[in-house]
């Protein structure tokens, strides 16, 4: 990922525009034939995708079992609600922490690996977590999942805001998304993010510049897993339940597809684009055919073959191509006018 | 009294073919002694067994009969890991070290010396253009001065190869027809019929002119 404009800013113009547009979504989403809950889902998966892309796009570390941390966060949210205290803040903190601890544990074992070996290890660990979730009936409810997770109210001491309507939840999740985006934007363009990017480009060189590469790989994996867990916690709250299927290899594959289709390798916002395209495609194509995954799969193949930098990359490319042409044409026009 | 640096004691290697009736396809015999430090030039046709001889001396190829004593120790009875503290085989630009481990290392003896005393150079690449020849020859002499035994094996296909052999070789070893034959000097080597056959008419004439 190249350093984009406004990298030094905490909040960029693009962020403001995006935030404003997203804030209007509940006003029109039903009119275009979609439904408010889809907005909630898109935002939650966007947090997850941005967290995942910190690992894949910035640090270049392929994690193909990332669903595990998302799922662990979902279970942590539910279990804390049932067994500790039904506090939104506590449950979300638990989701973040559980994802982070699971991530740190795995990172301990894989951070000295590279490339395909790294990827294999992430799959193996992801499968272990998924298997444990399915088999531990007593804790996770096995394949039946954890049901009756409540949408807890936002308790601000004096006031308490109820989130049981999809619109209220949407605005809460939007806030979380904006905070996560601002935080990740800053992290990506901080010295830490620069070192991660350096490690992606050449691990050897980074080590010879004095950077303890394993420690960085450990840190970024833990951060990414923690944020994924956080997104998982929101997801449990949104769908009032937690199931093991989001931890499966399958779902772990979806997040990879979303990020790559969207253009996570070249753009910070690429993963968000990918999530929108994926979920909207699921609903729109899914309305016509049950085999919508086939069509999305074909789209994925087409992107990998023809635009490996993803939708965001393609847009960036067109933009760059467009620019000089417009300039040239403008010059020709002014010549014509003058001459 | 210090033992001789290298003794090849009725050394024999036979390769055979056939599962039941074994017909020898290759034999090599050597019964030689190199008591002290010197530089030995090794020559002989392809397939005559120079590499086999080097492998037996460095302990990586077990002889059919006889023994190889390096500094008094039978190198084939020294721990695999420590054989390079006795002898080193350099193939072109790197060292070769591969042992077929038949006996557990624990049952084998330790090397009597900490550093190798035998250096065998198998066809080092000499190129007149880059100047390394000079450094290589100086290195052979340095090893010799440190009391080591140096074998340099090369095929003289150009005049300067013969110049090199004459310049550094104190004695020679002709590996030919299944035997390793010692030659005390360059001129003694040049008059040997087998050596002349191996060198071919052009190189023989050049060698004679040098001797």
């Amino acid at each position: 990922m190249k350093t984009p404009p406004h990298a030094e800013k905490l909040i960029t113009p693009a962020m403001l525009v995006l935030g404003l547009v997203l804030a209007t979504v509940p006003l029109w989403i039903s009119r275009v034939g979609l439904y408010p809950y889809l907005g909630v889902e898109i935002l939650i998966w966007s947090i997850y995708a941005l967290a995942f892309n910190l690992l894949l796009g910035t640090a270049g570390l392929p994690s193909f079992g990332h669903g595990a941390y998302f799922g662990i966060g979902a279970y942590a949210f539910g279990l804390t609600q049932f067994n500790v205290a039904p506090s939104l803040w506590l449950c979300l903190a638990a989701a973040l922490l559980a994802g982070g601890i699971a991530g740190a544990l795995v990172a301990l074992f894989i951070s000295h690996r590279r490339g395909i070996y790294y990827a294999f290890m992430t799959i193996a660990f992801g499968q272990i977590f998924w298997f444990v979730a399915i088999k531990s009936h007593g804790i996770t409810g096995g394949e039946d999942g954890l049901l009756k997770i409540r949408r807890l109210p936002v308790d601000l001491g004096l006031v308490s805001i109820d989130l049981s309507s999809n619109t209220a939840l949407y605005y809460f999740v939007l806030l979380a998304f904006m905070l996560a985006a601002v935080g990740l934007w800053r992290l990506t363009h901080s010295p830490f993010g620069r070192v991660l990017s350096a490690i992606r480009q050449s691990e050897t060189r980074a080590a010879h510049l004095g950077y303890p590469v394993r420690l960085y790989k450990f840190a970024v994996f833990t951060i990414s897993a923690a944020l994924s867990g956080f997104a998982g916690g929101l997801f449990a709250m949104a769908q009032n339940s937690a199931f093991p299927d989001v931890m499966s290899l399958h779902y772990s594959g979806y997040i990879v597809m979303m990020v790559l289709v969207g253009g996570g390798m070249v753009s910070f916002w690429g993963p968000v684009v990918g999530v929108v395209v994926f979920l909207v495609a699921r609903d729109v194509i899914g309305a016509y055919t049950t085999s919508w995954m086939l069509w999305f799969g074909l789209l994925f193949i087409a992107v990998v073959l023809f635009k490996p930098e993803g939708i965001a990359g393609a847009v960036q490319g067109w933009w760059r191509q467009l620019d000089p042409r417009r300039l040239r044409e403008g010059a020709r026009l002014s010549q014509v006018l003058r001459g | 009294m210090t033992p001789p640096l290298l003794v090849l004691e009725r050394l024999k290697k036979v390769y055979t073919r056939g599962a039941l009736v074994k017909r020898p396809t290759f034999t090599l015999e050597a019964d030689l002694e190199f008591p002290e430090s010197r530089i030995v030039g090794v020559l002989g046709p392809n397939g005559a067994g120079k590499t086999t001889l080097f492998e037996m001396i460095t302990g990586s190829n077990a002889p059919t009969e006889g023994r190889v004593l390096v500094a008094g120790a039978d190198i084939h009875r020294v721990k695999y890991k420590e054989r390079d503290r006795l002898a080193i085989h350099y193939h072109q630009s790197y060292q070769v070290r591969s042992f077929s481990k038949r006996v557990p290392s624990a049952l084998l003896a330790r090397s009597p010396t900490p550093k190798p005393i035998l250096h065998l150079f198998d066809e080092p690449q000499f190129n007149t253009q880059d100047g390394y020849i000079g450094f290589m020859l100086d290195f052979f002499r340095k090893l010799r001065a440190e009391g080591k035994l140096v074998f340099v094996c090369l095929h003289p296909t150009a005049r300067y190869h013969l110049e090199i052999l004459k310049e550094i070789g104190e004695s020679f070893l002709l590996v030919h027809g299944g035997k390793a034959v010692p030659k005390a000097s360059f001129s003694e080597l040049v008059v040997d019929e087998r050596a002349r056959g191996y060198l071919g008419p052009d190189m023989t004439a050049t060698a004679e002119a040098l001797a």
Binding site: M1, K2, T3, A7, E8, K9, L10, R186, L187, H189, S190, P191, F192, G193, R194, V195, S197, A198, Q201, S202, T204, R205, A207, H208, L209, G210, Y211, P212, V213, Y216, A219 | D84, I88, Y90, Q92, S93, Y94, Q95, V96, R97, S98, K115, F121, Q125, T128, Q129, D130, G131, Y132, I133, G134, F135, M136, L137, D138, F139, K142
Partner: protein, 247 residues
């Protein structure tokens, strides 16, 4: 005392012994050249010096302190910088960003995720000074992969210099350069020499003999000759070769 020292280094990869008791010392401010035929073990030796390969026997010391077997980032942090024969720049970074990330002060803040790395004048002015030193001041904003080859080679050295090393290890810095590039590099190295110690692997004898204070000839994983350029040229066979004709 020698800045960087290696004693009786022994390395084997499987059946192959790559280094056999190499010993070597770099004095402060010295330029020490390493030459030798292909496959003689020069790059492996560099990898031992910079912590990429752990020797099976022997010791590496930085100013007398044993650092054998330390990982490469620890060796680098102690002031040993290296360039690579196959260039390993951060291709997506600009020249400036490549150099910034190599600065010790950047490294000290490597885990800082709260501030932006861009637009920080502290890094930027230091990095620009290093780029100016290798003649890339004008090209600071160009992405590394878009730079011409000669500039990429120069940037490779700038990245090593940015670490403010005590010893600069250069692995075939002239490889692939034309005569202009070589001349430019020679001027740079002549300027750096004395200020820091330099170890260079080099095939270009003209380049090496013109710049080095001492040269070690490596072959068969050992140092087969060592001396000043003048001493090495004494050899009769060397006189006959290309080397003998150099002025």
């Amino acid at each position: 005392m020698a800045v960087l020292e290696a004693c009786d280094i022994h390395v084997r990869f499987g059946d192959r012994v790559v280094l056999e008791e190499i010993s070597f010392a770099v004095e402060p401010g010295e330029m020490h050249g390493i030459m030798g035929p292909n496959g003689a073990g020069k790059t492996t030796f560099f990898n031992v010096l910079t912590g990429r390969v752990k020797p099976s026997r022997g010791e590496v010391r930085i100013e007398g302190e044993d650092v054998t077997g330390l990982p490469s980032h620890r060796i680098a942090a102690r002031g040993i910088a290296r360039s690579f024969q196959i260039m390993t720049l951060f291709d997506e970074f600009t020249a400036l960003e490549n150099v910034e990330v190599a600065l010790p002060e950047f490294r000290a803040r490597g885990f800082d995720g709260r501030r932006a790395a861009v637009g920080d004048r502290g890094f930027e002015s230091a990095a620009r000074a290093v780029l100016a030193e290798v003649g890339l001041a004008e090209k600071a904003g160009i992405v590394a992969k878009d730079l011409p080859y000669g500039d990429r080679r120069a940037l490779e050295i700038a990245v090593a210099l940015a670490q403010r090393p005590r010893v600069l290890c250069l692995d075939e810095p002239t490889s692939g350069l034309g005569s202009d590039g070589r001349a430019r590099l020679a001027i740079l190295i002549a300027r750096l020499k004395g200020r820091l110690s330099i170890v260079t692997i080099e095939h270009d004898m003209e380049f090496l003999f013109g710049l080095a204070d001492r040269i070690s000839v490596v072959h068969w994983g050992q140092v087969i000759a060592r001396g000043t350029p003048a001493e090495l040229r004494q050899n009769a066979w060397v006189q006959r070769s290309n080397l003998g004709r150099l002025q």
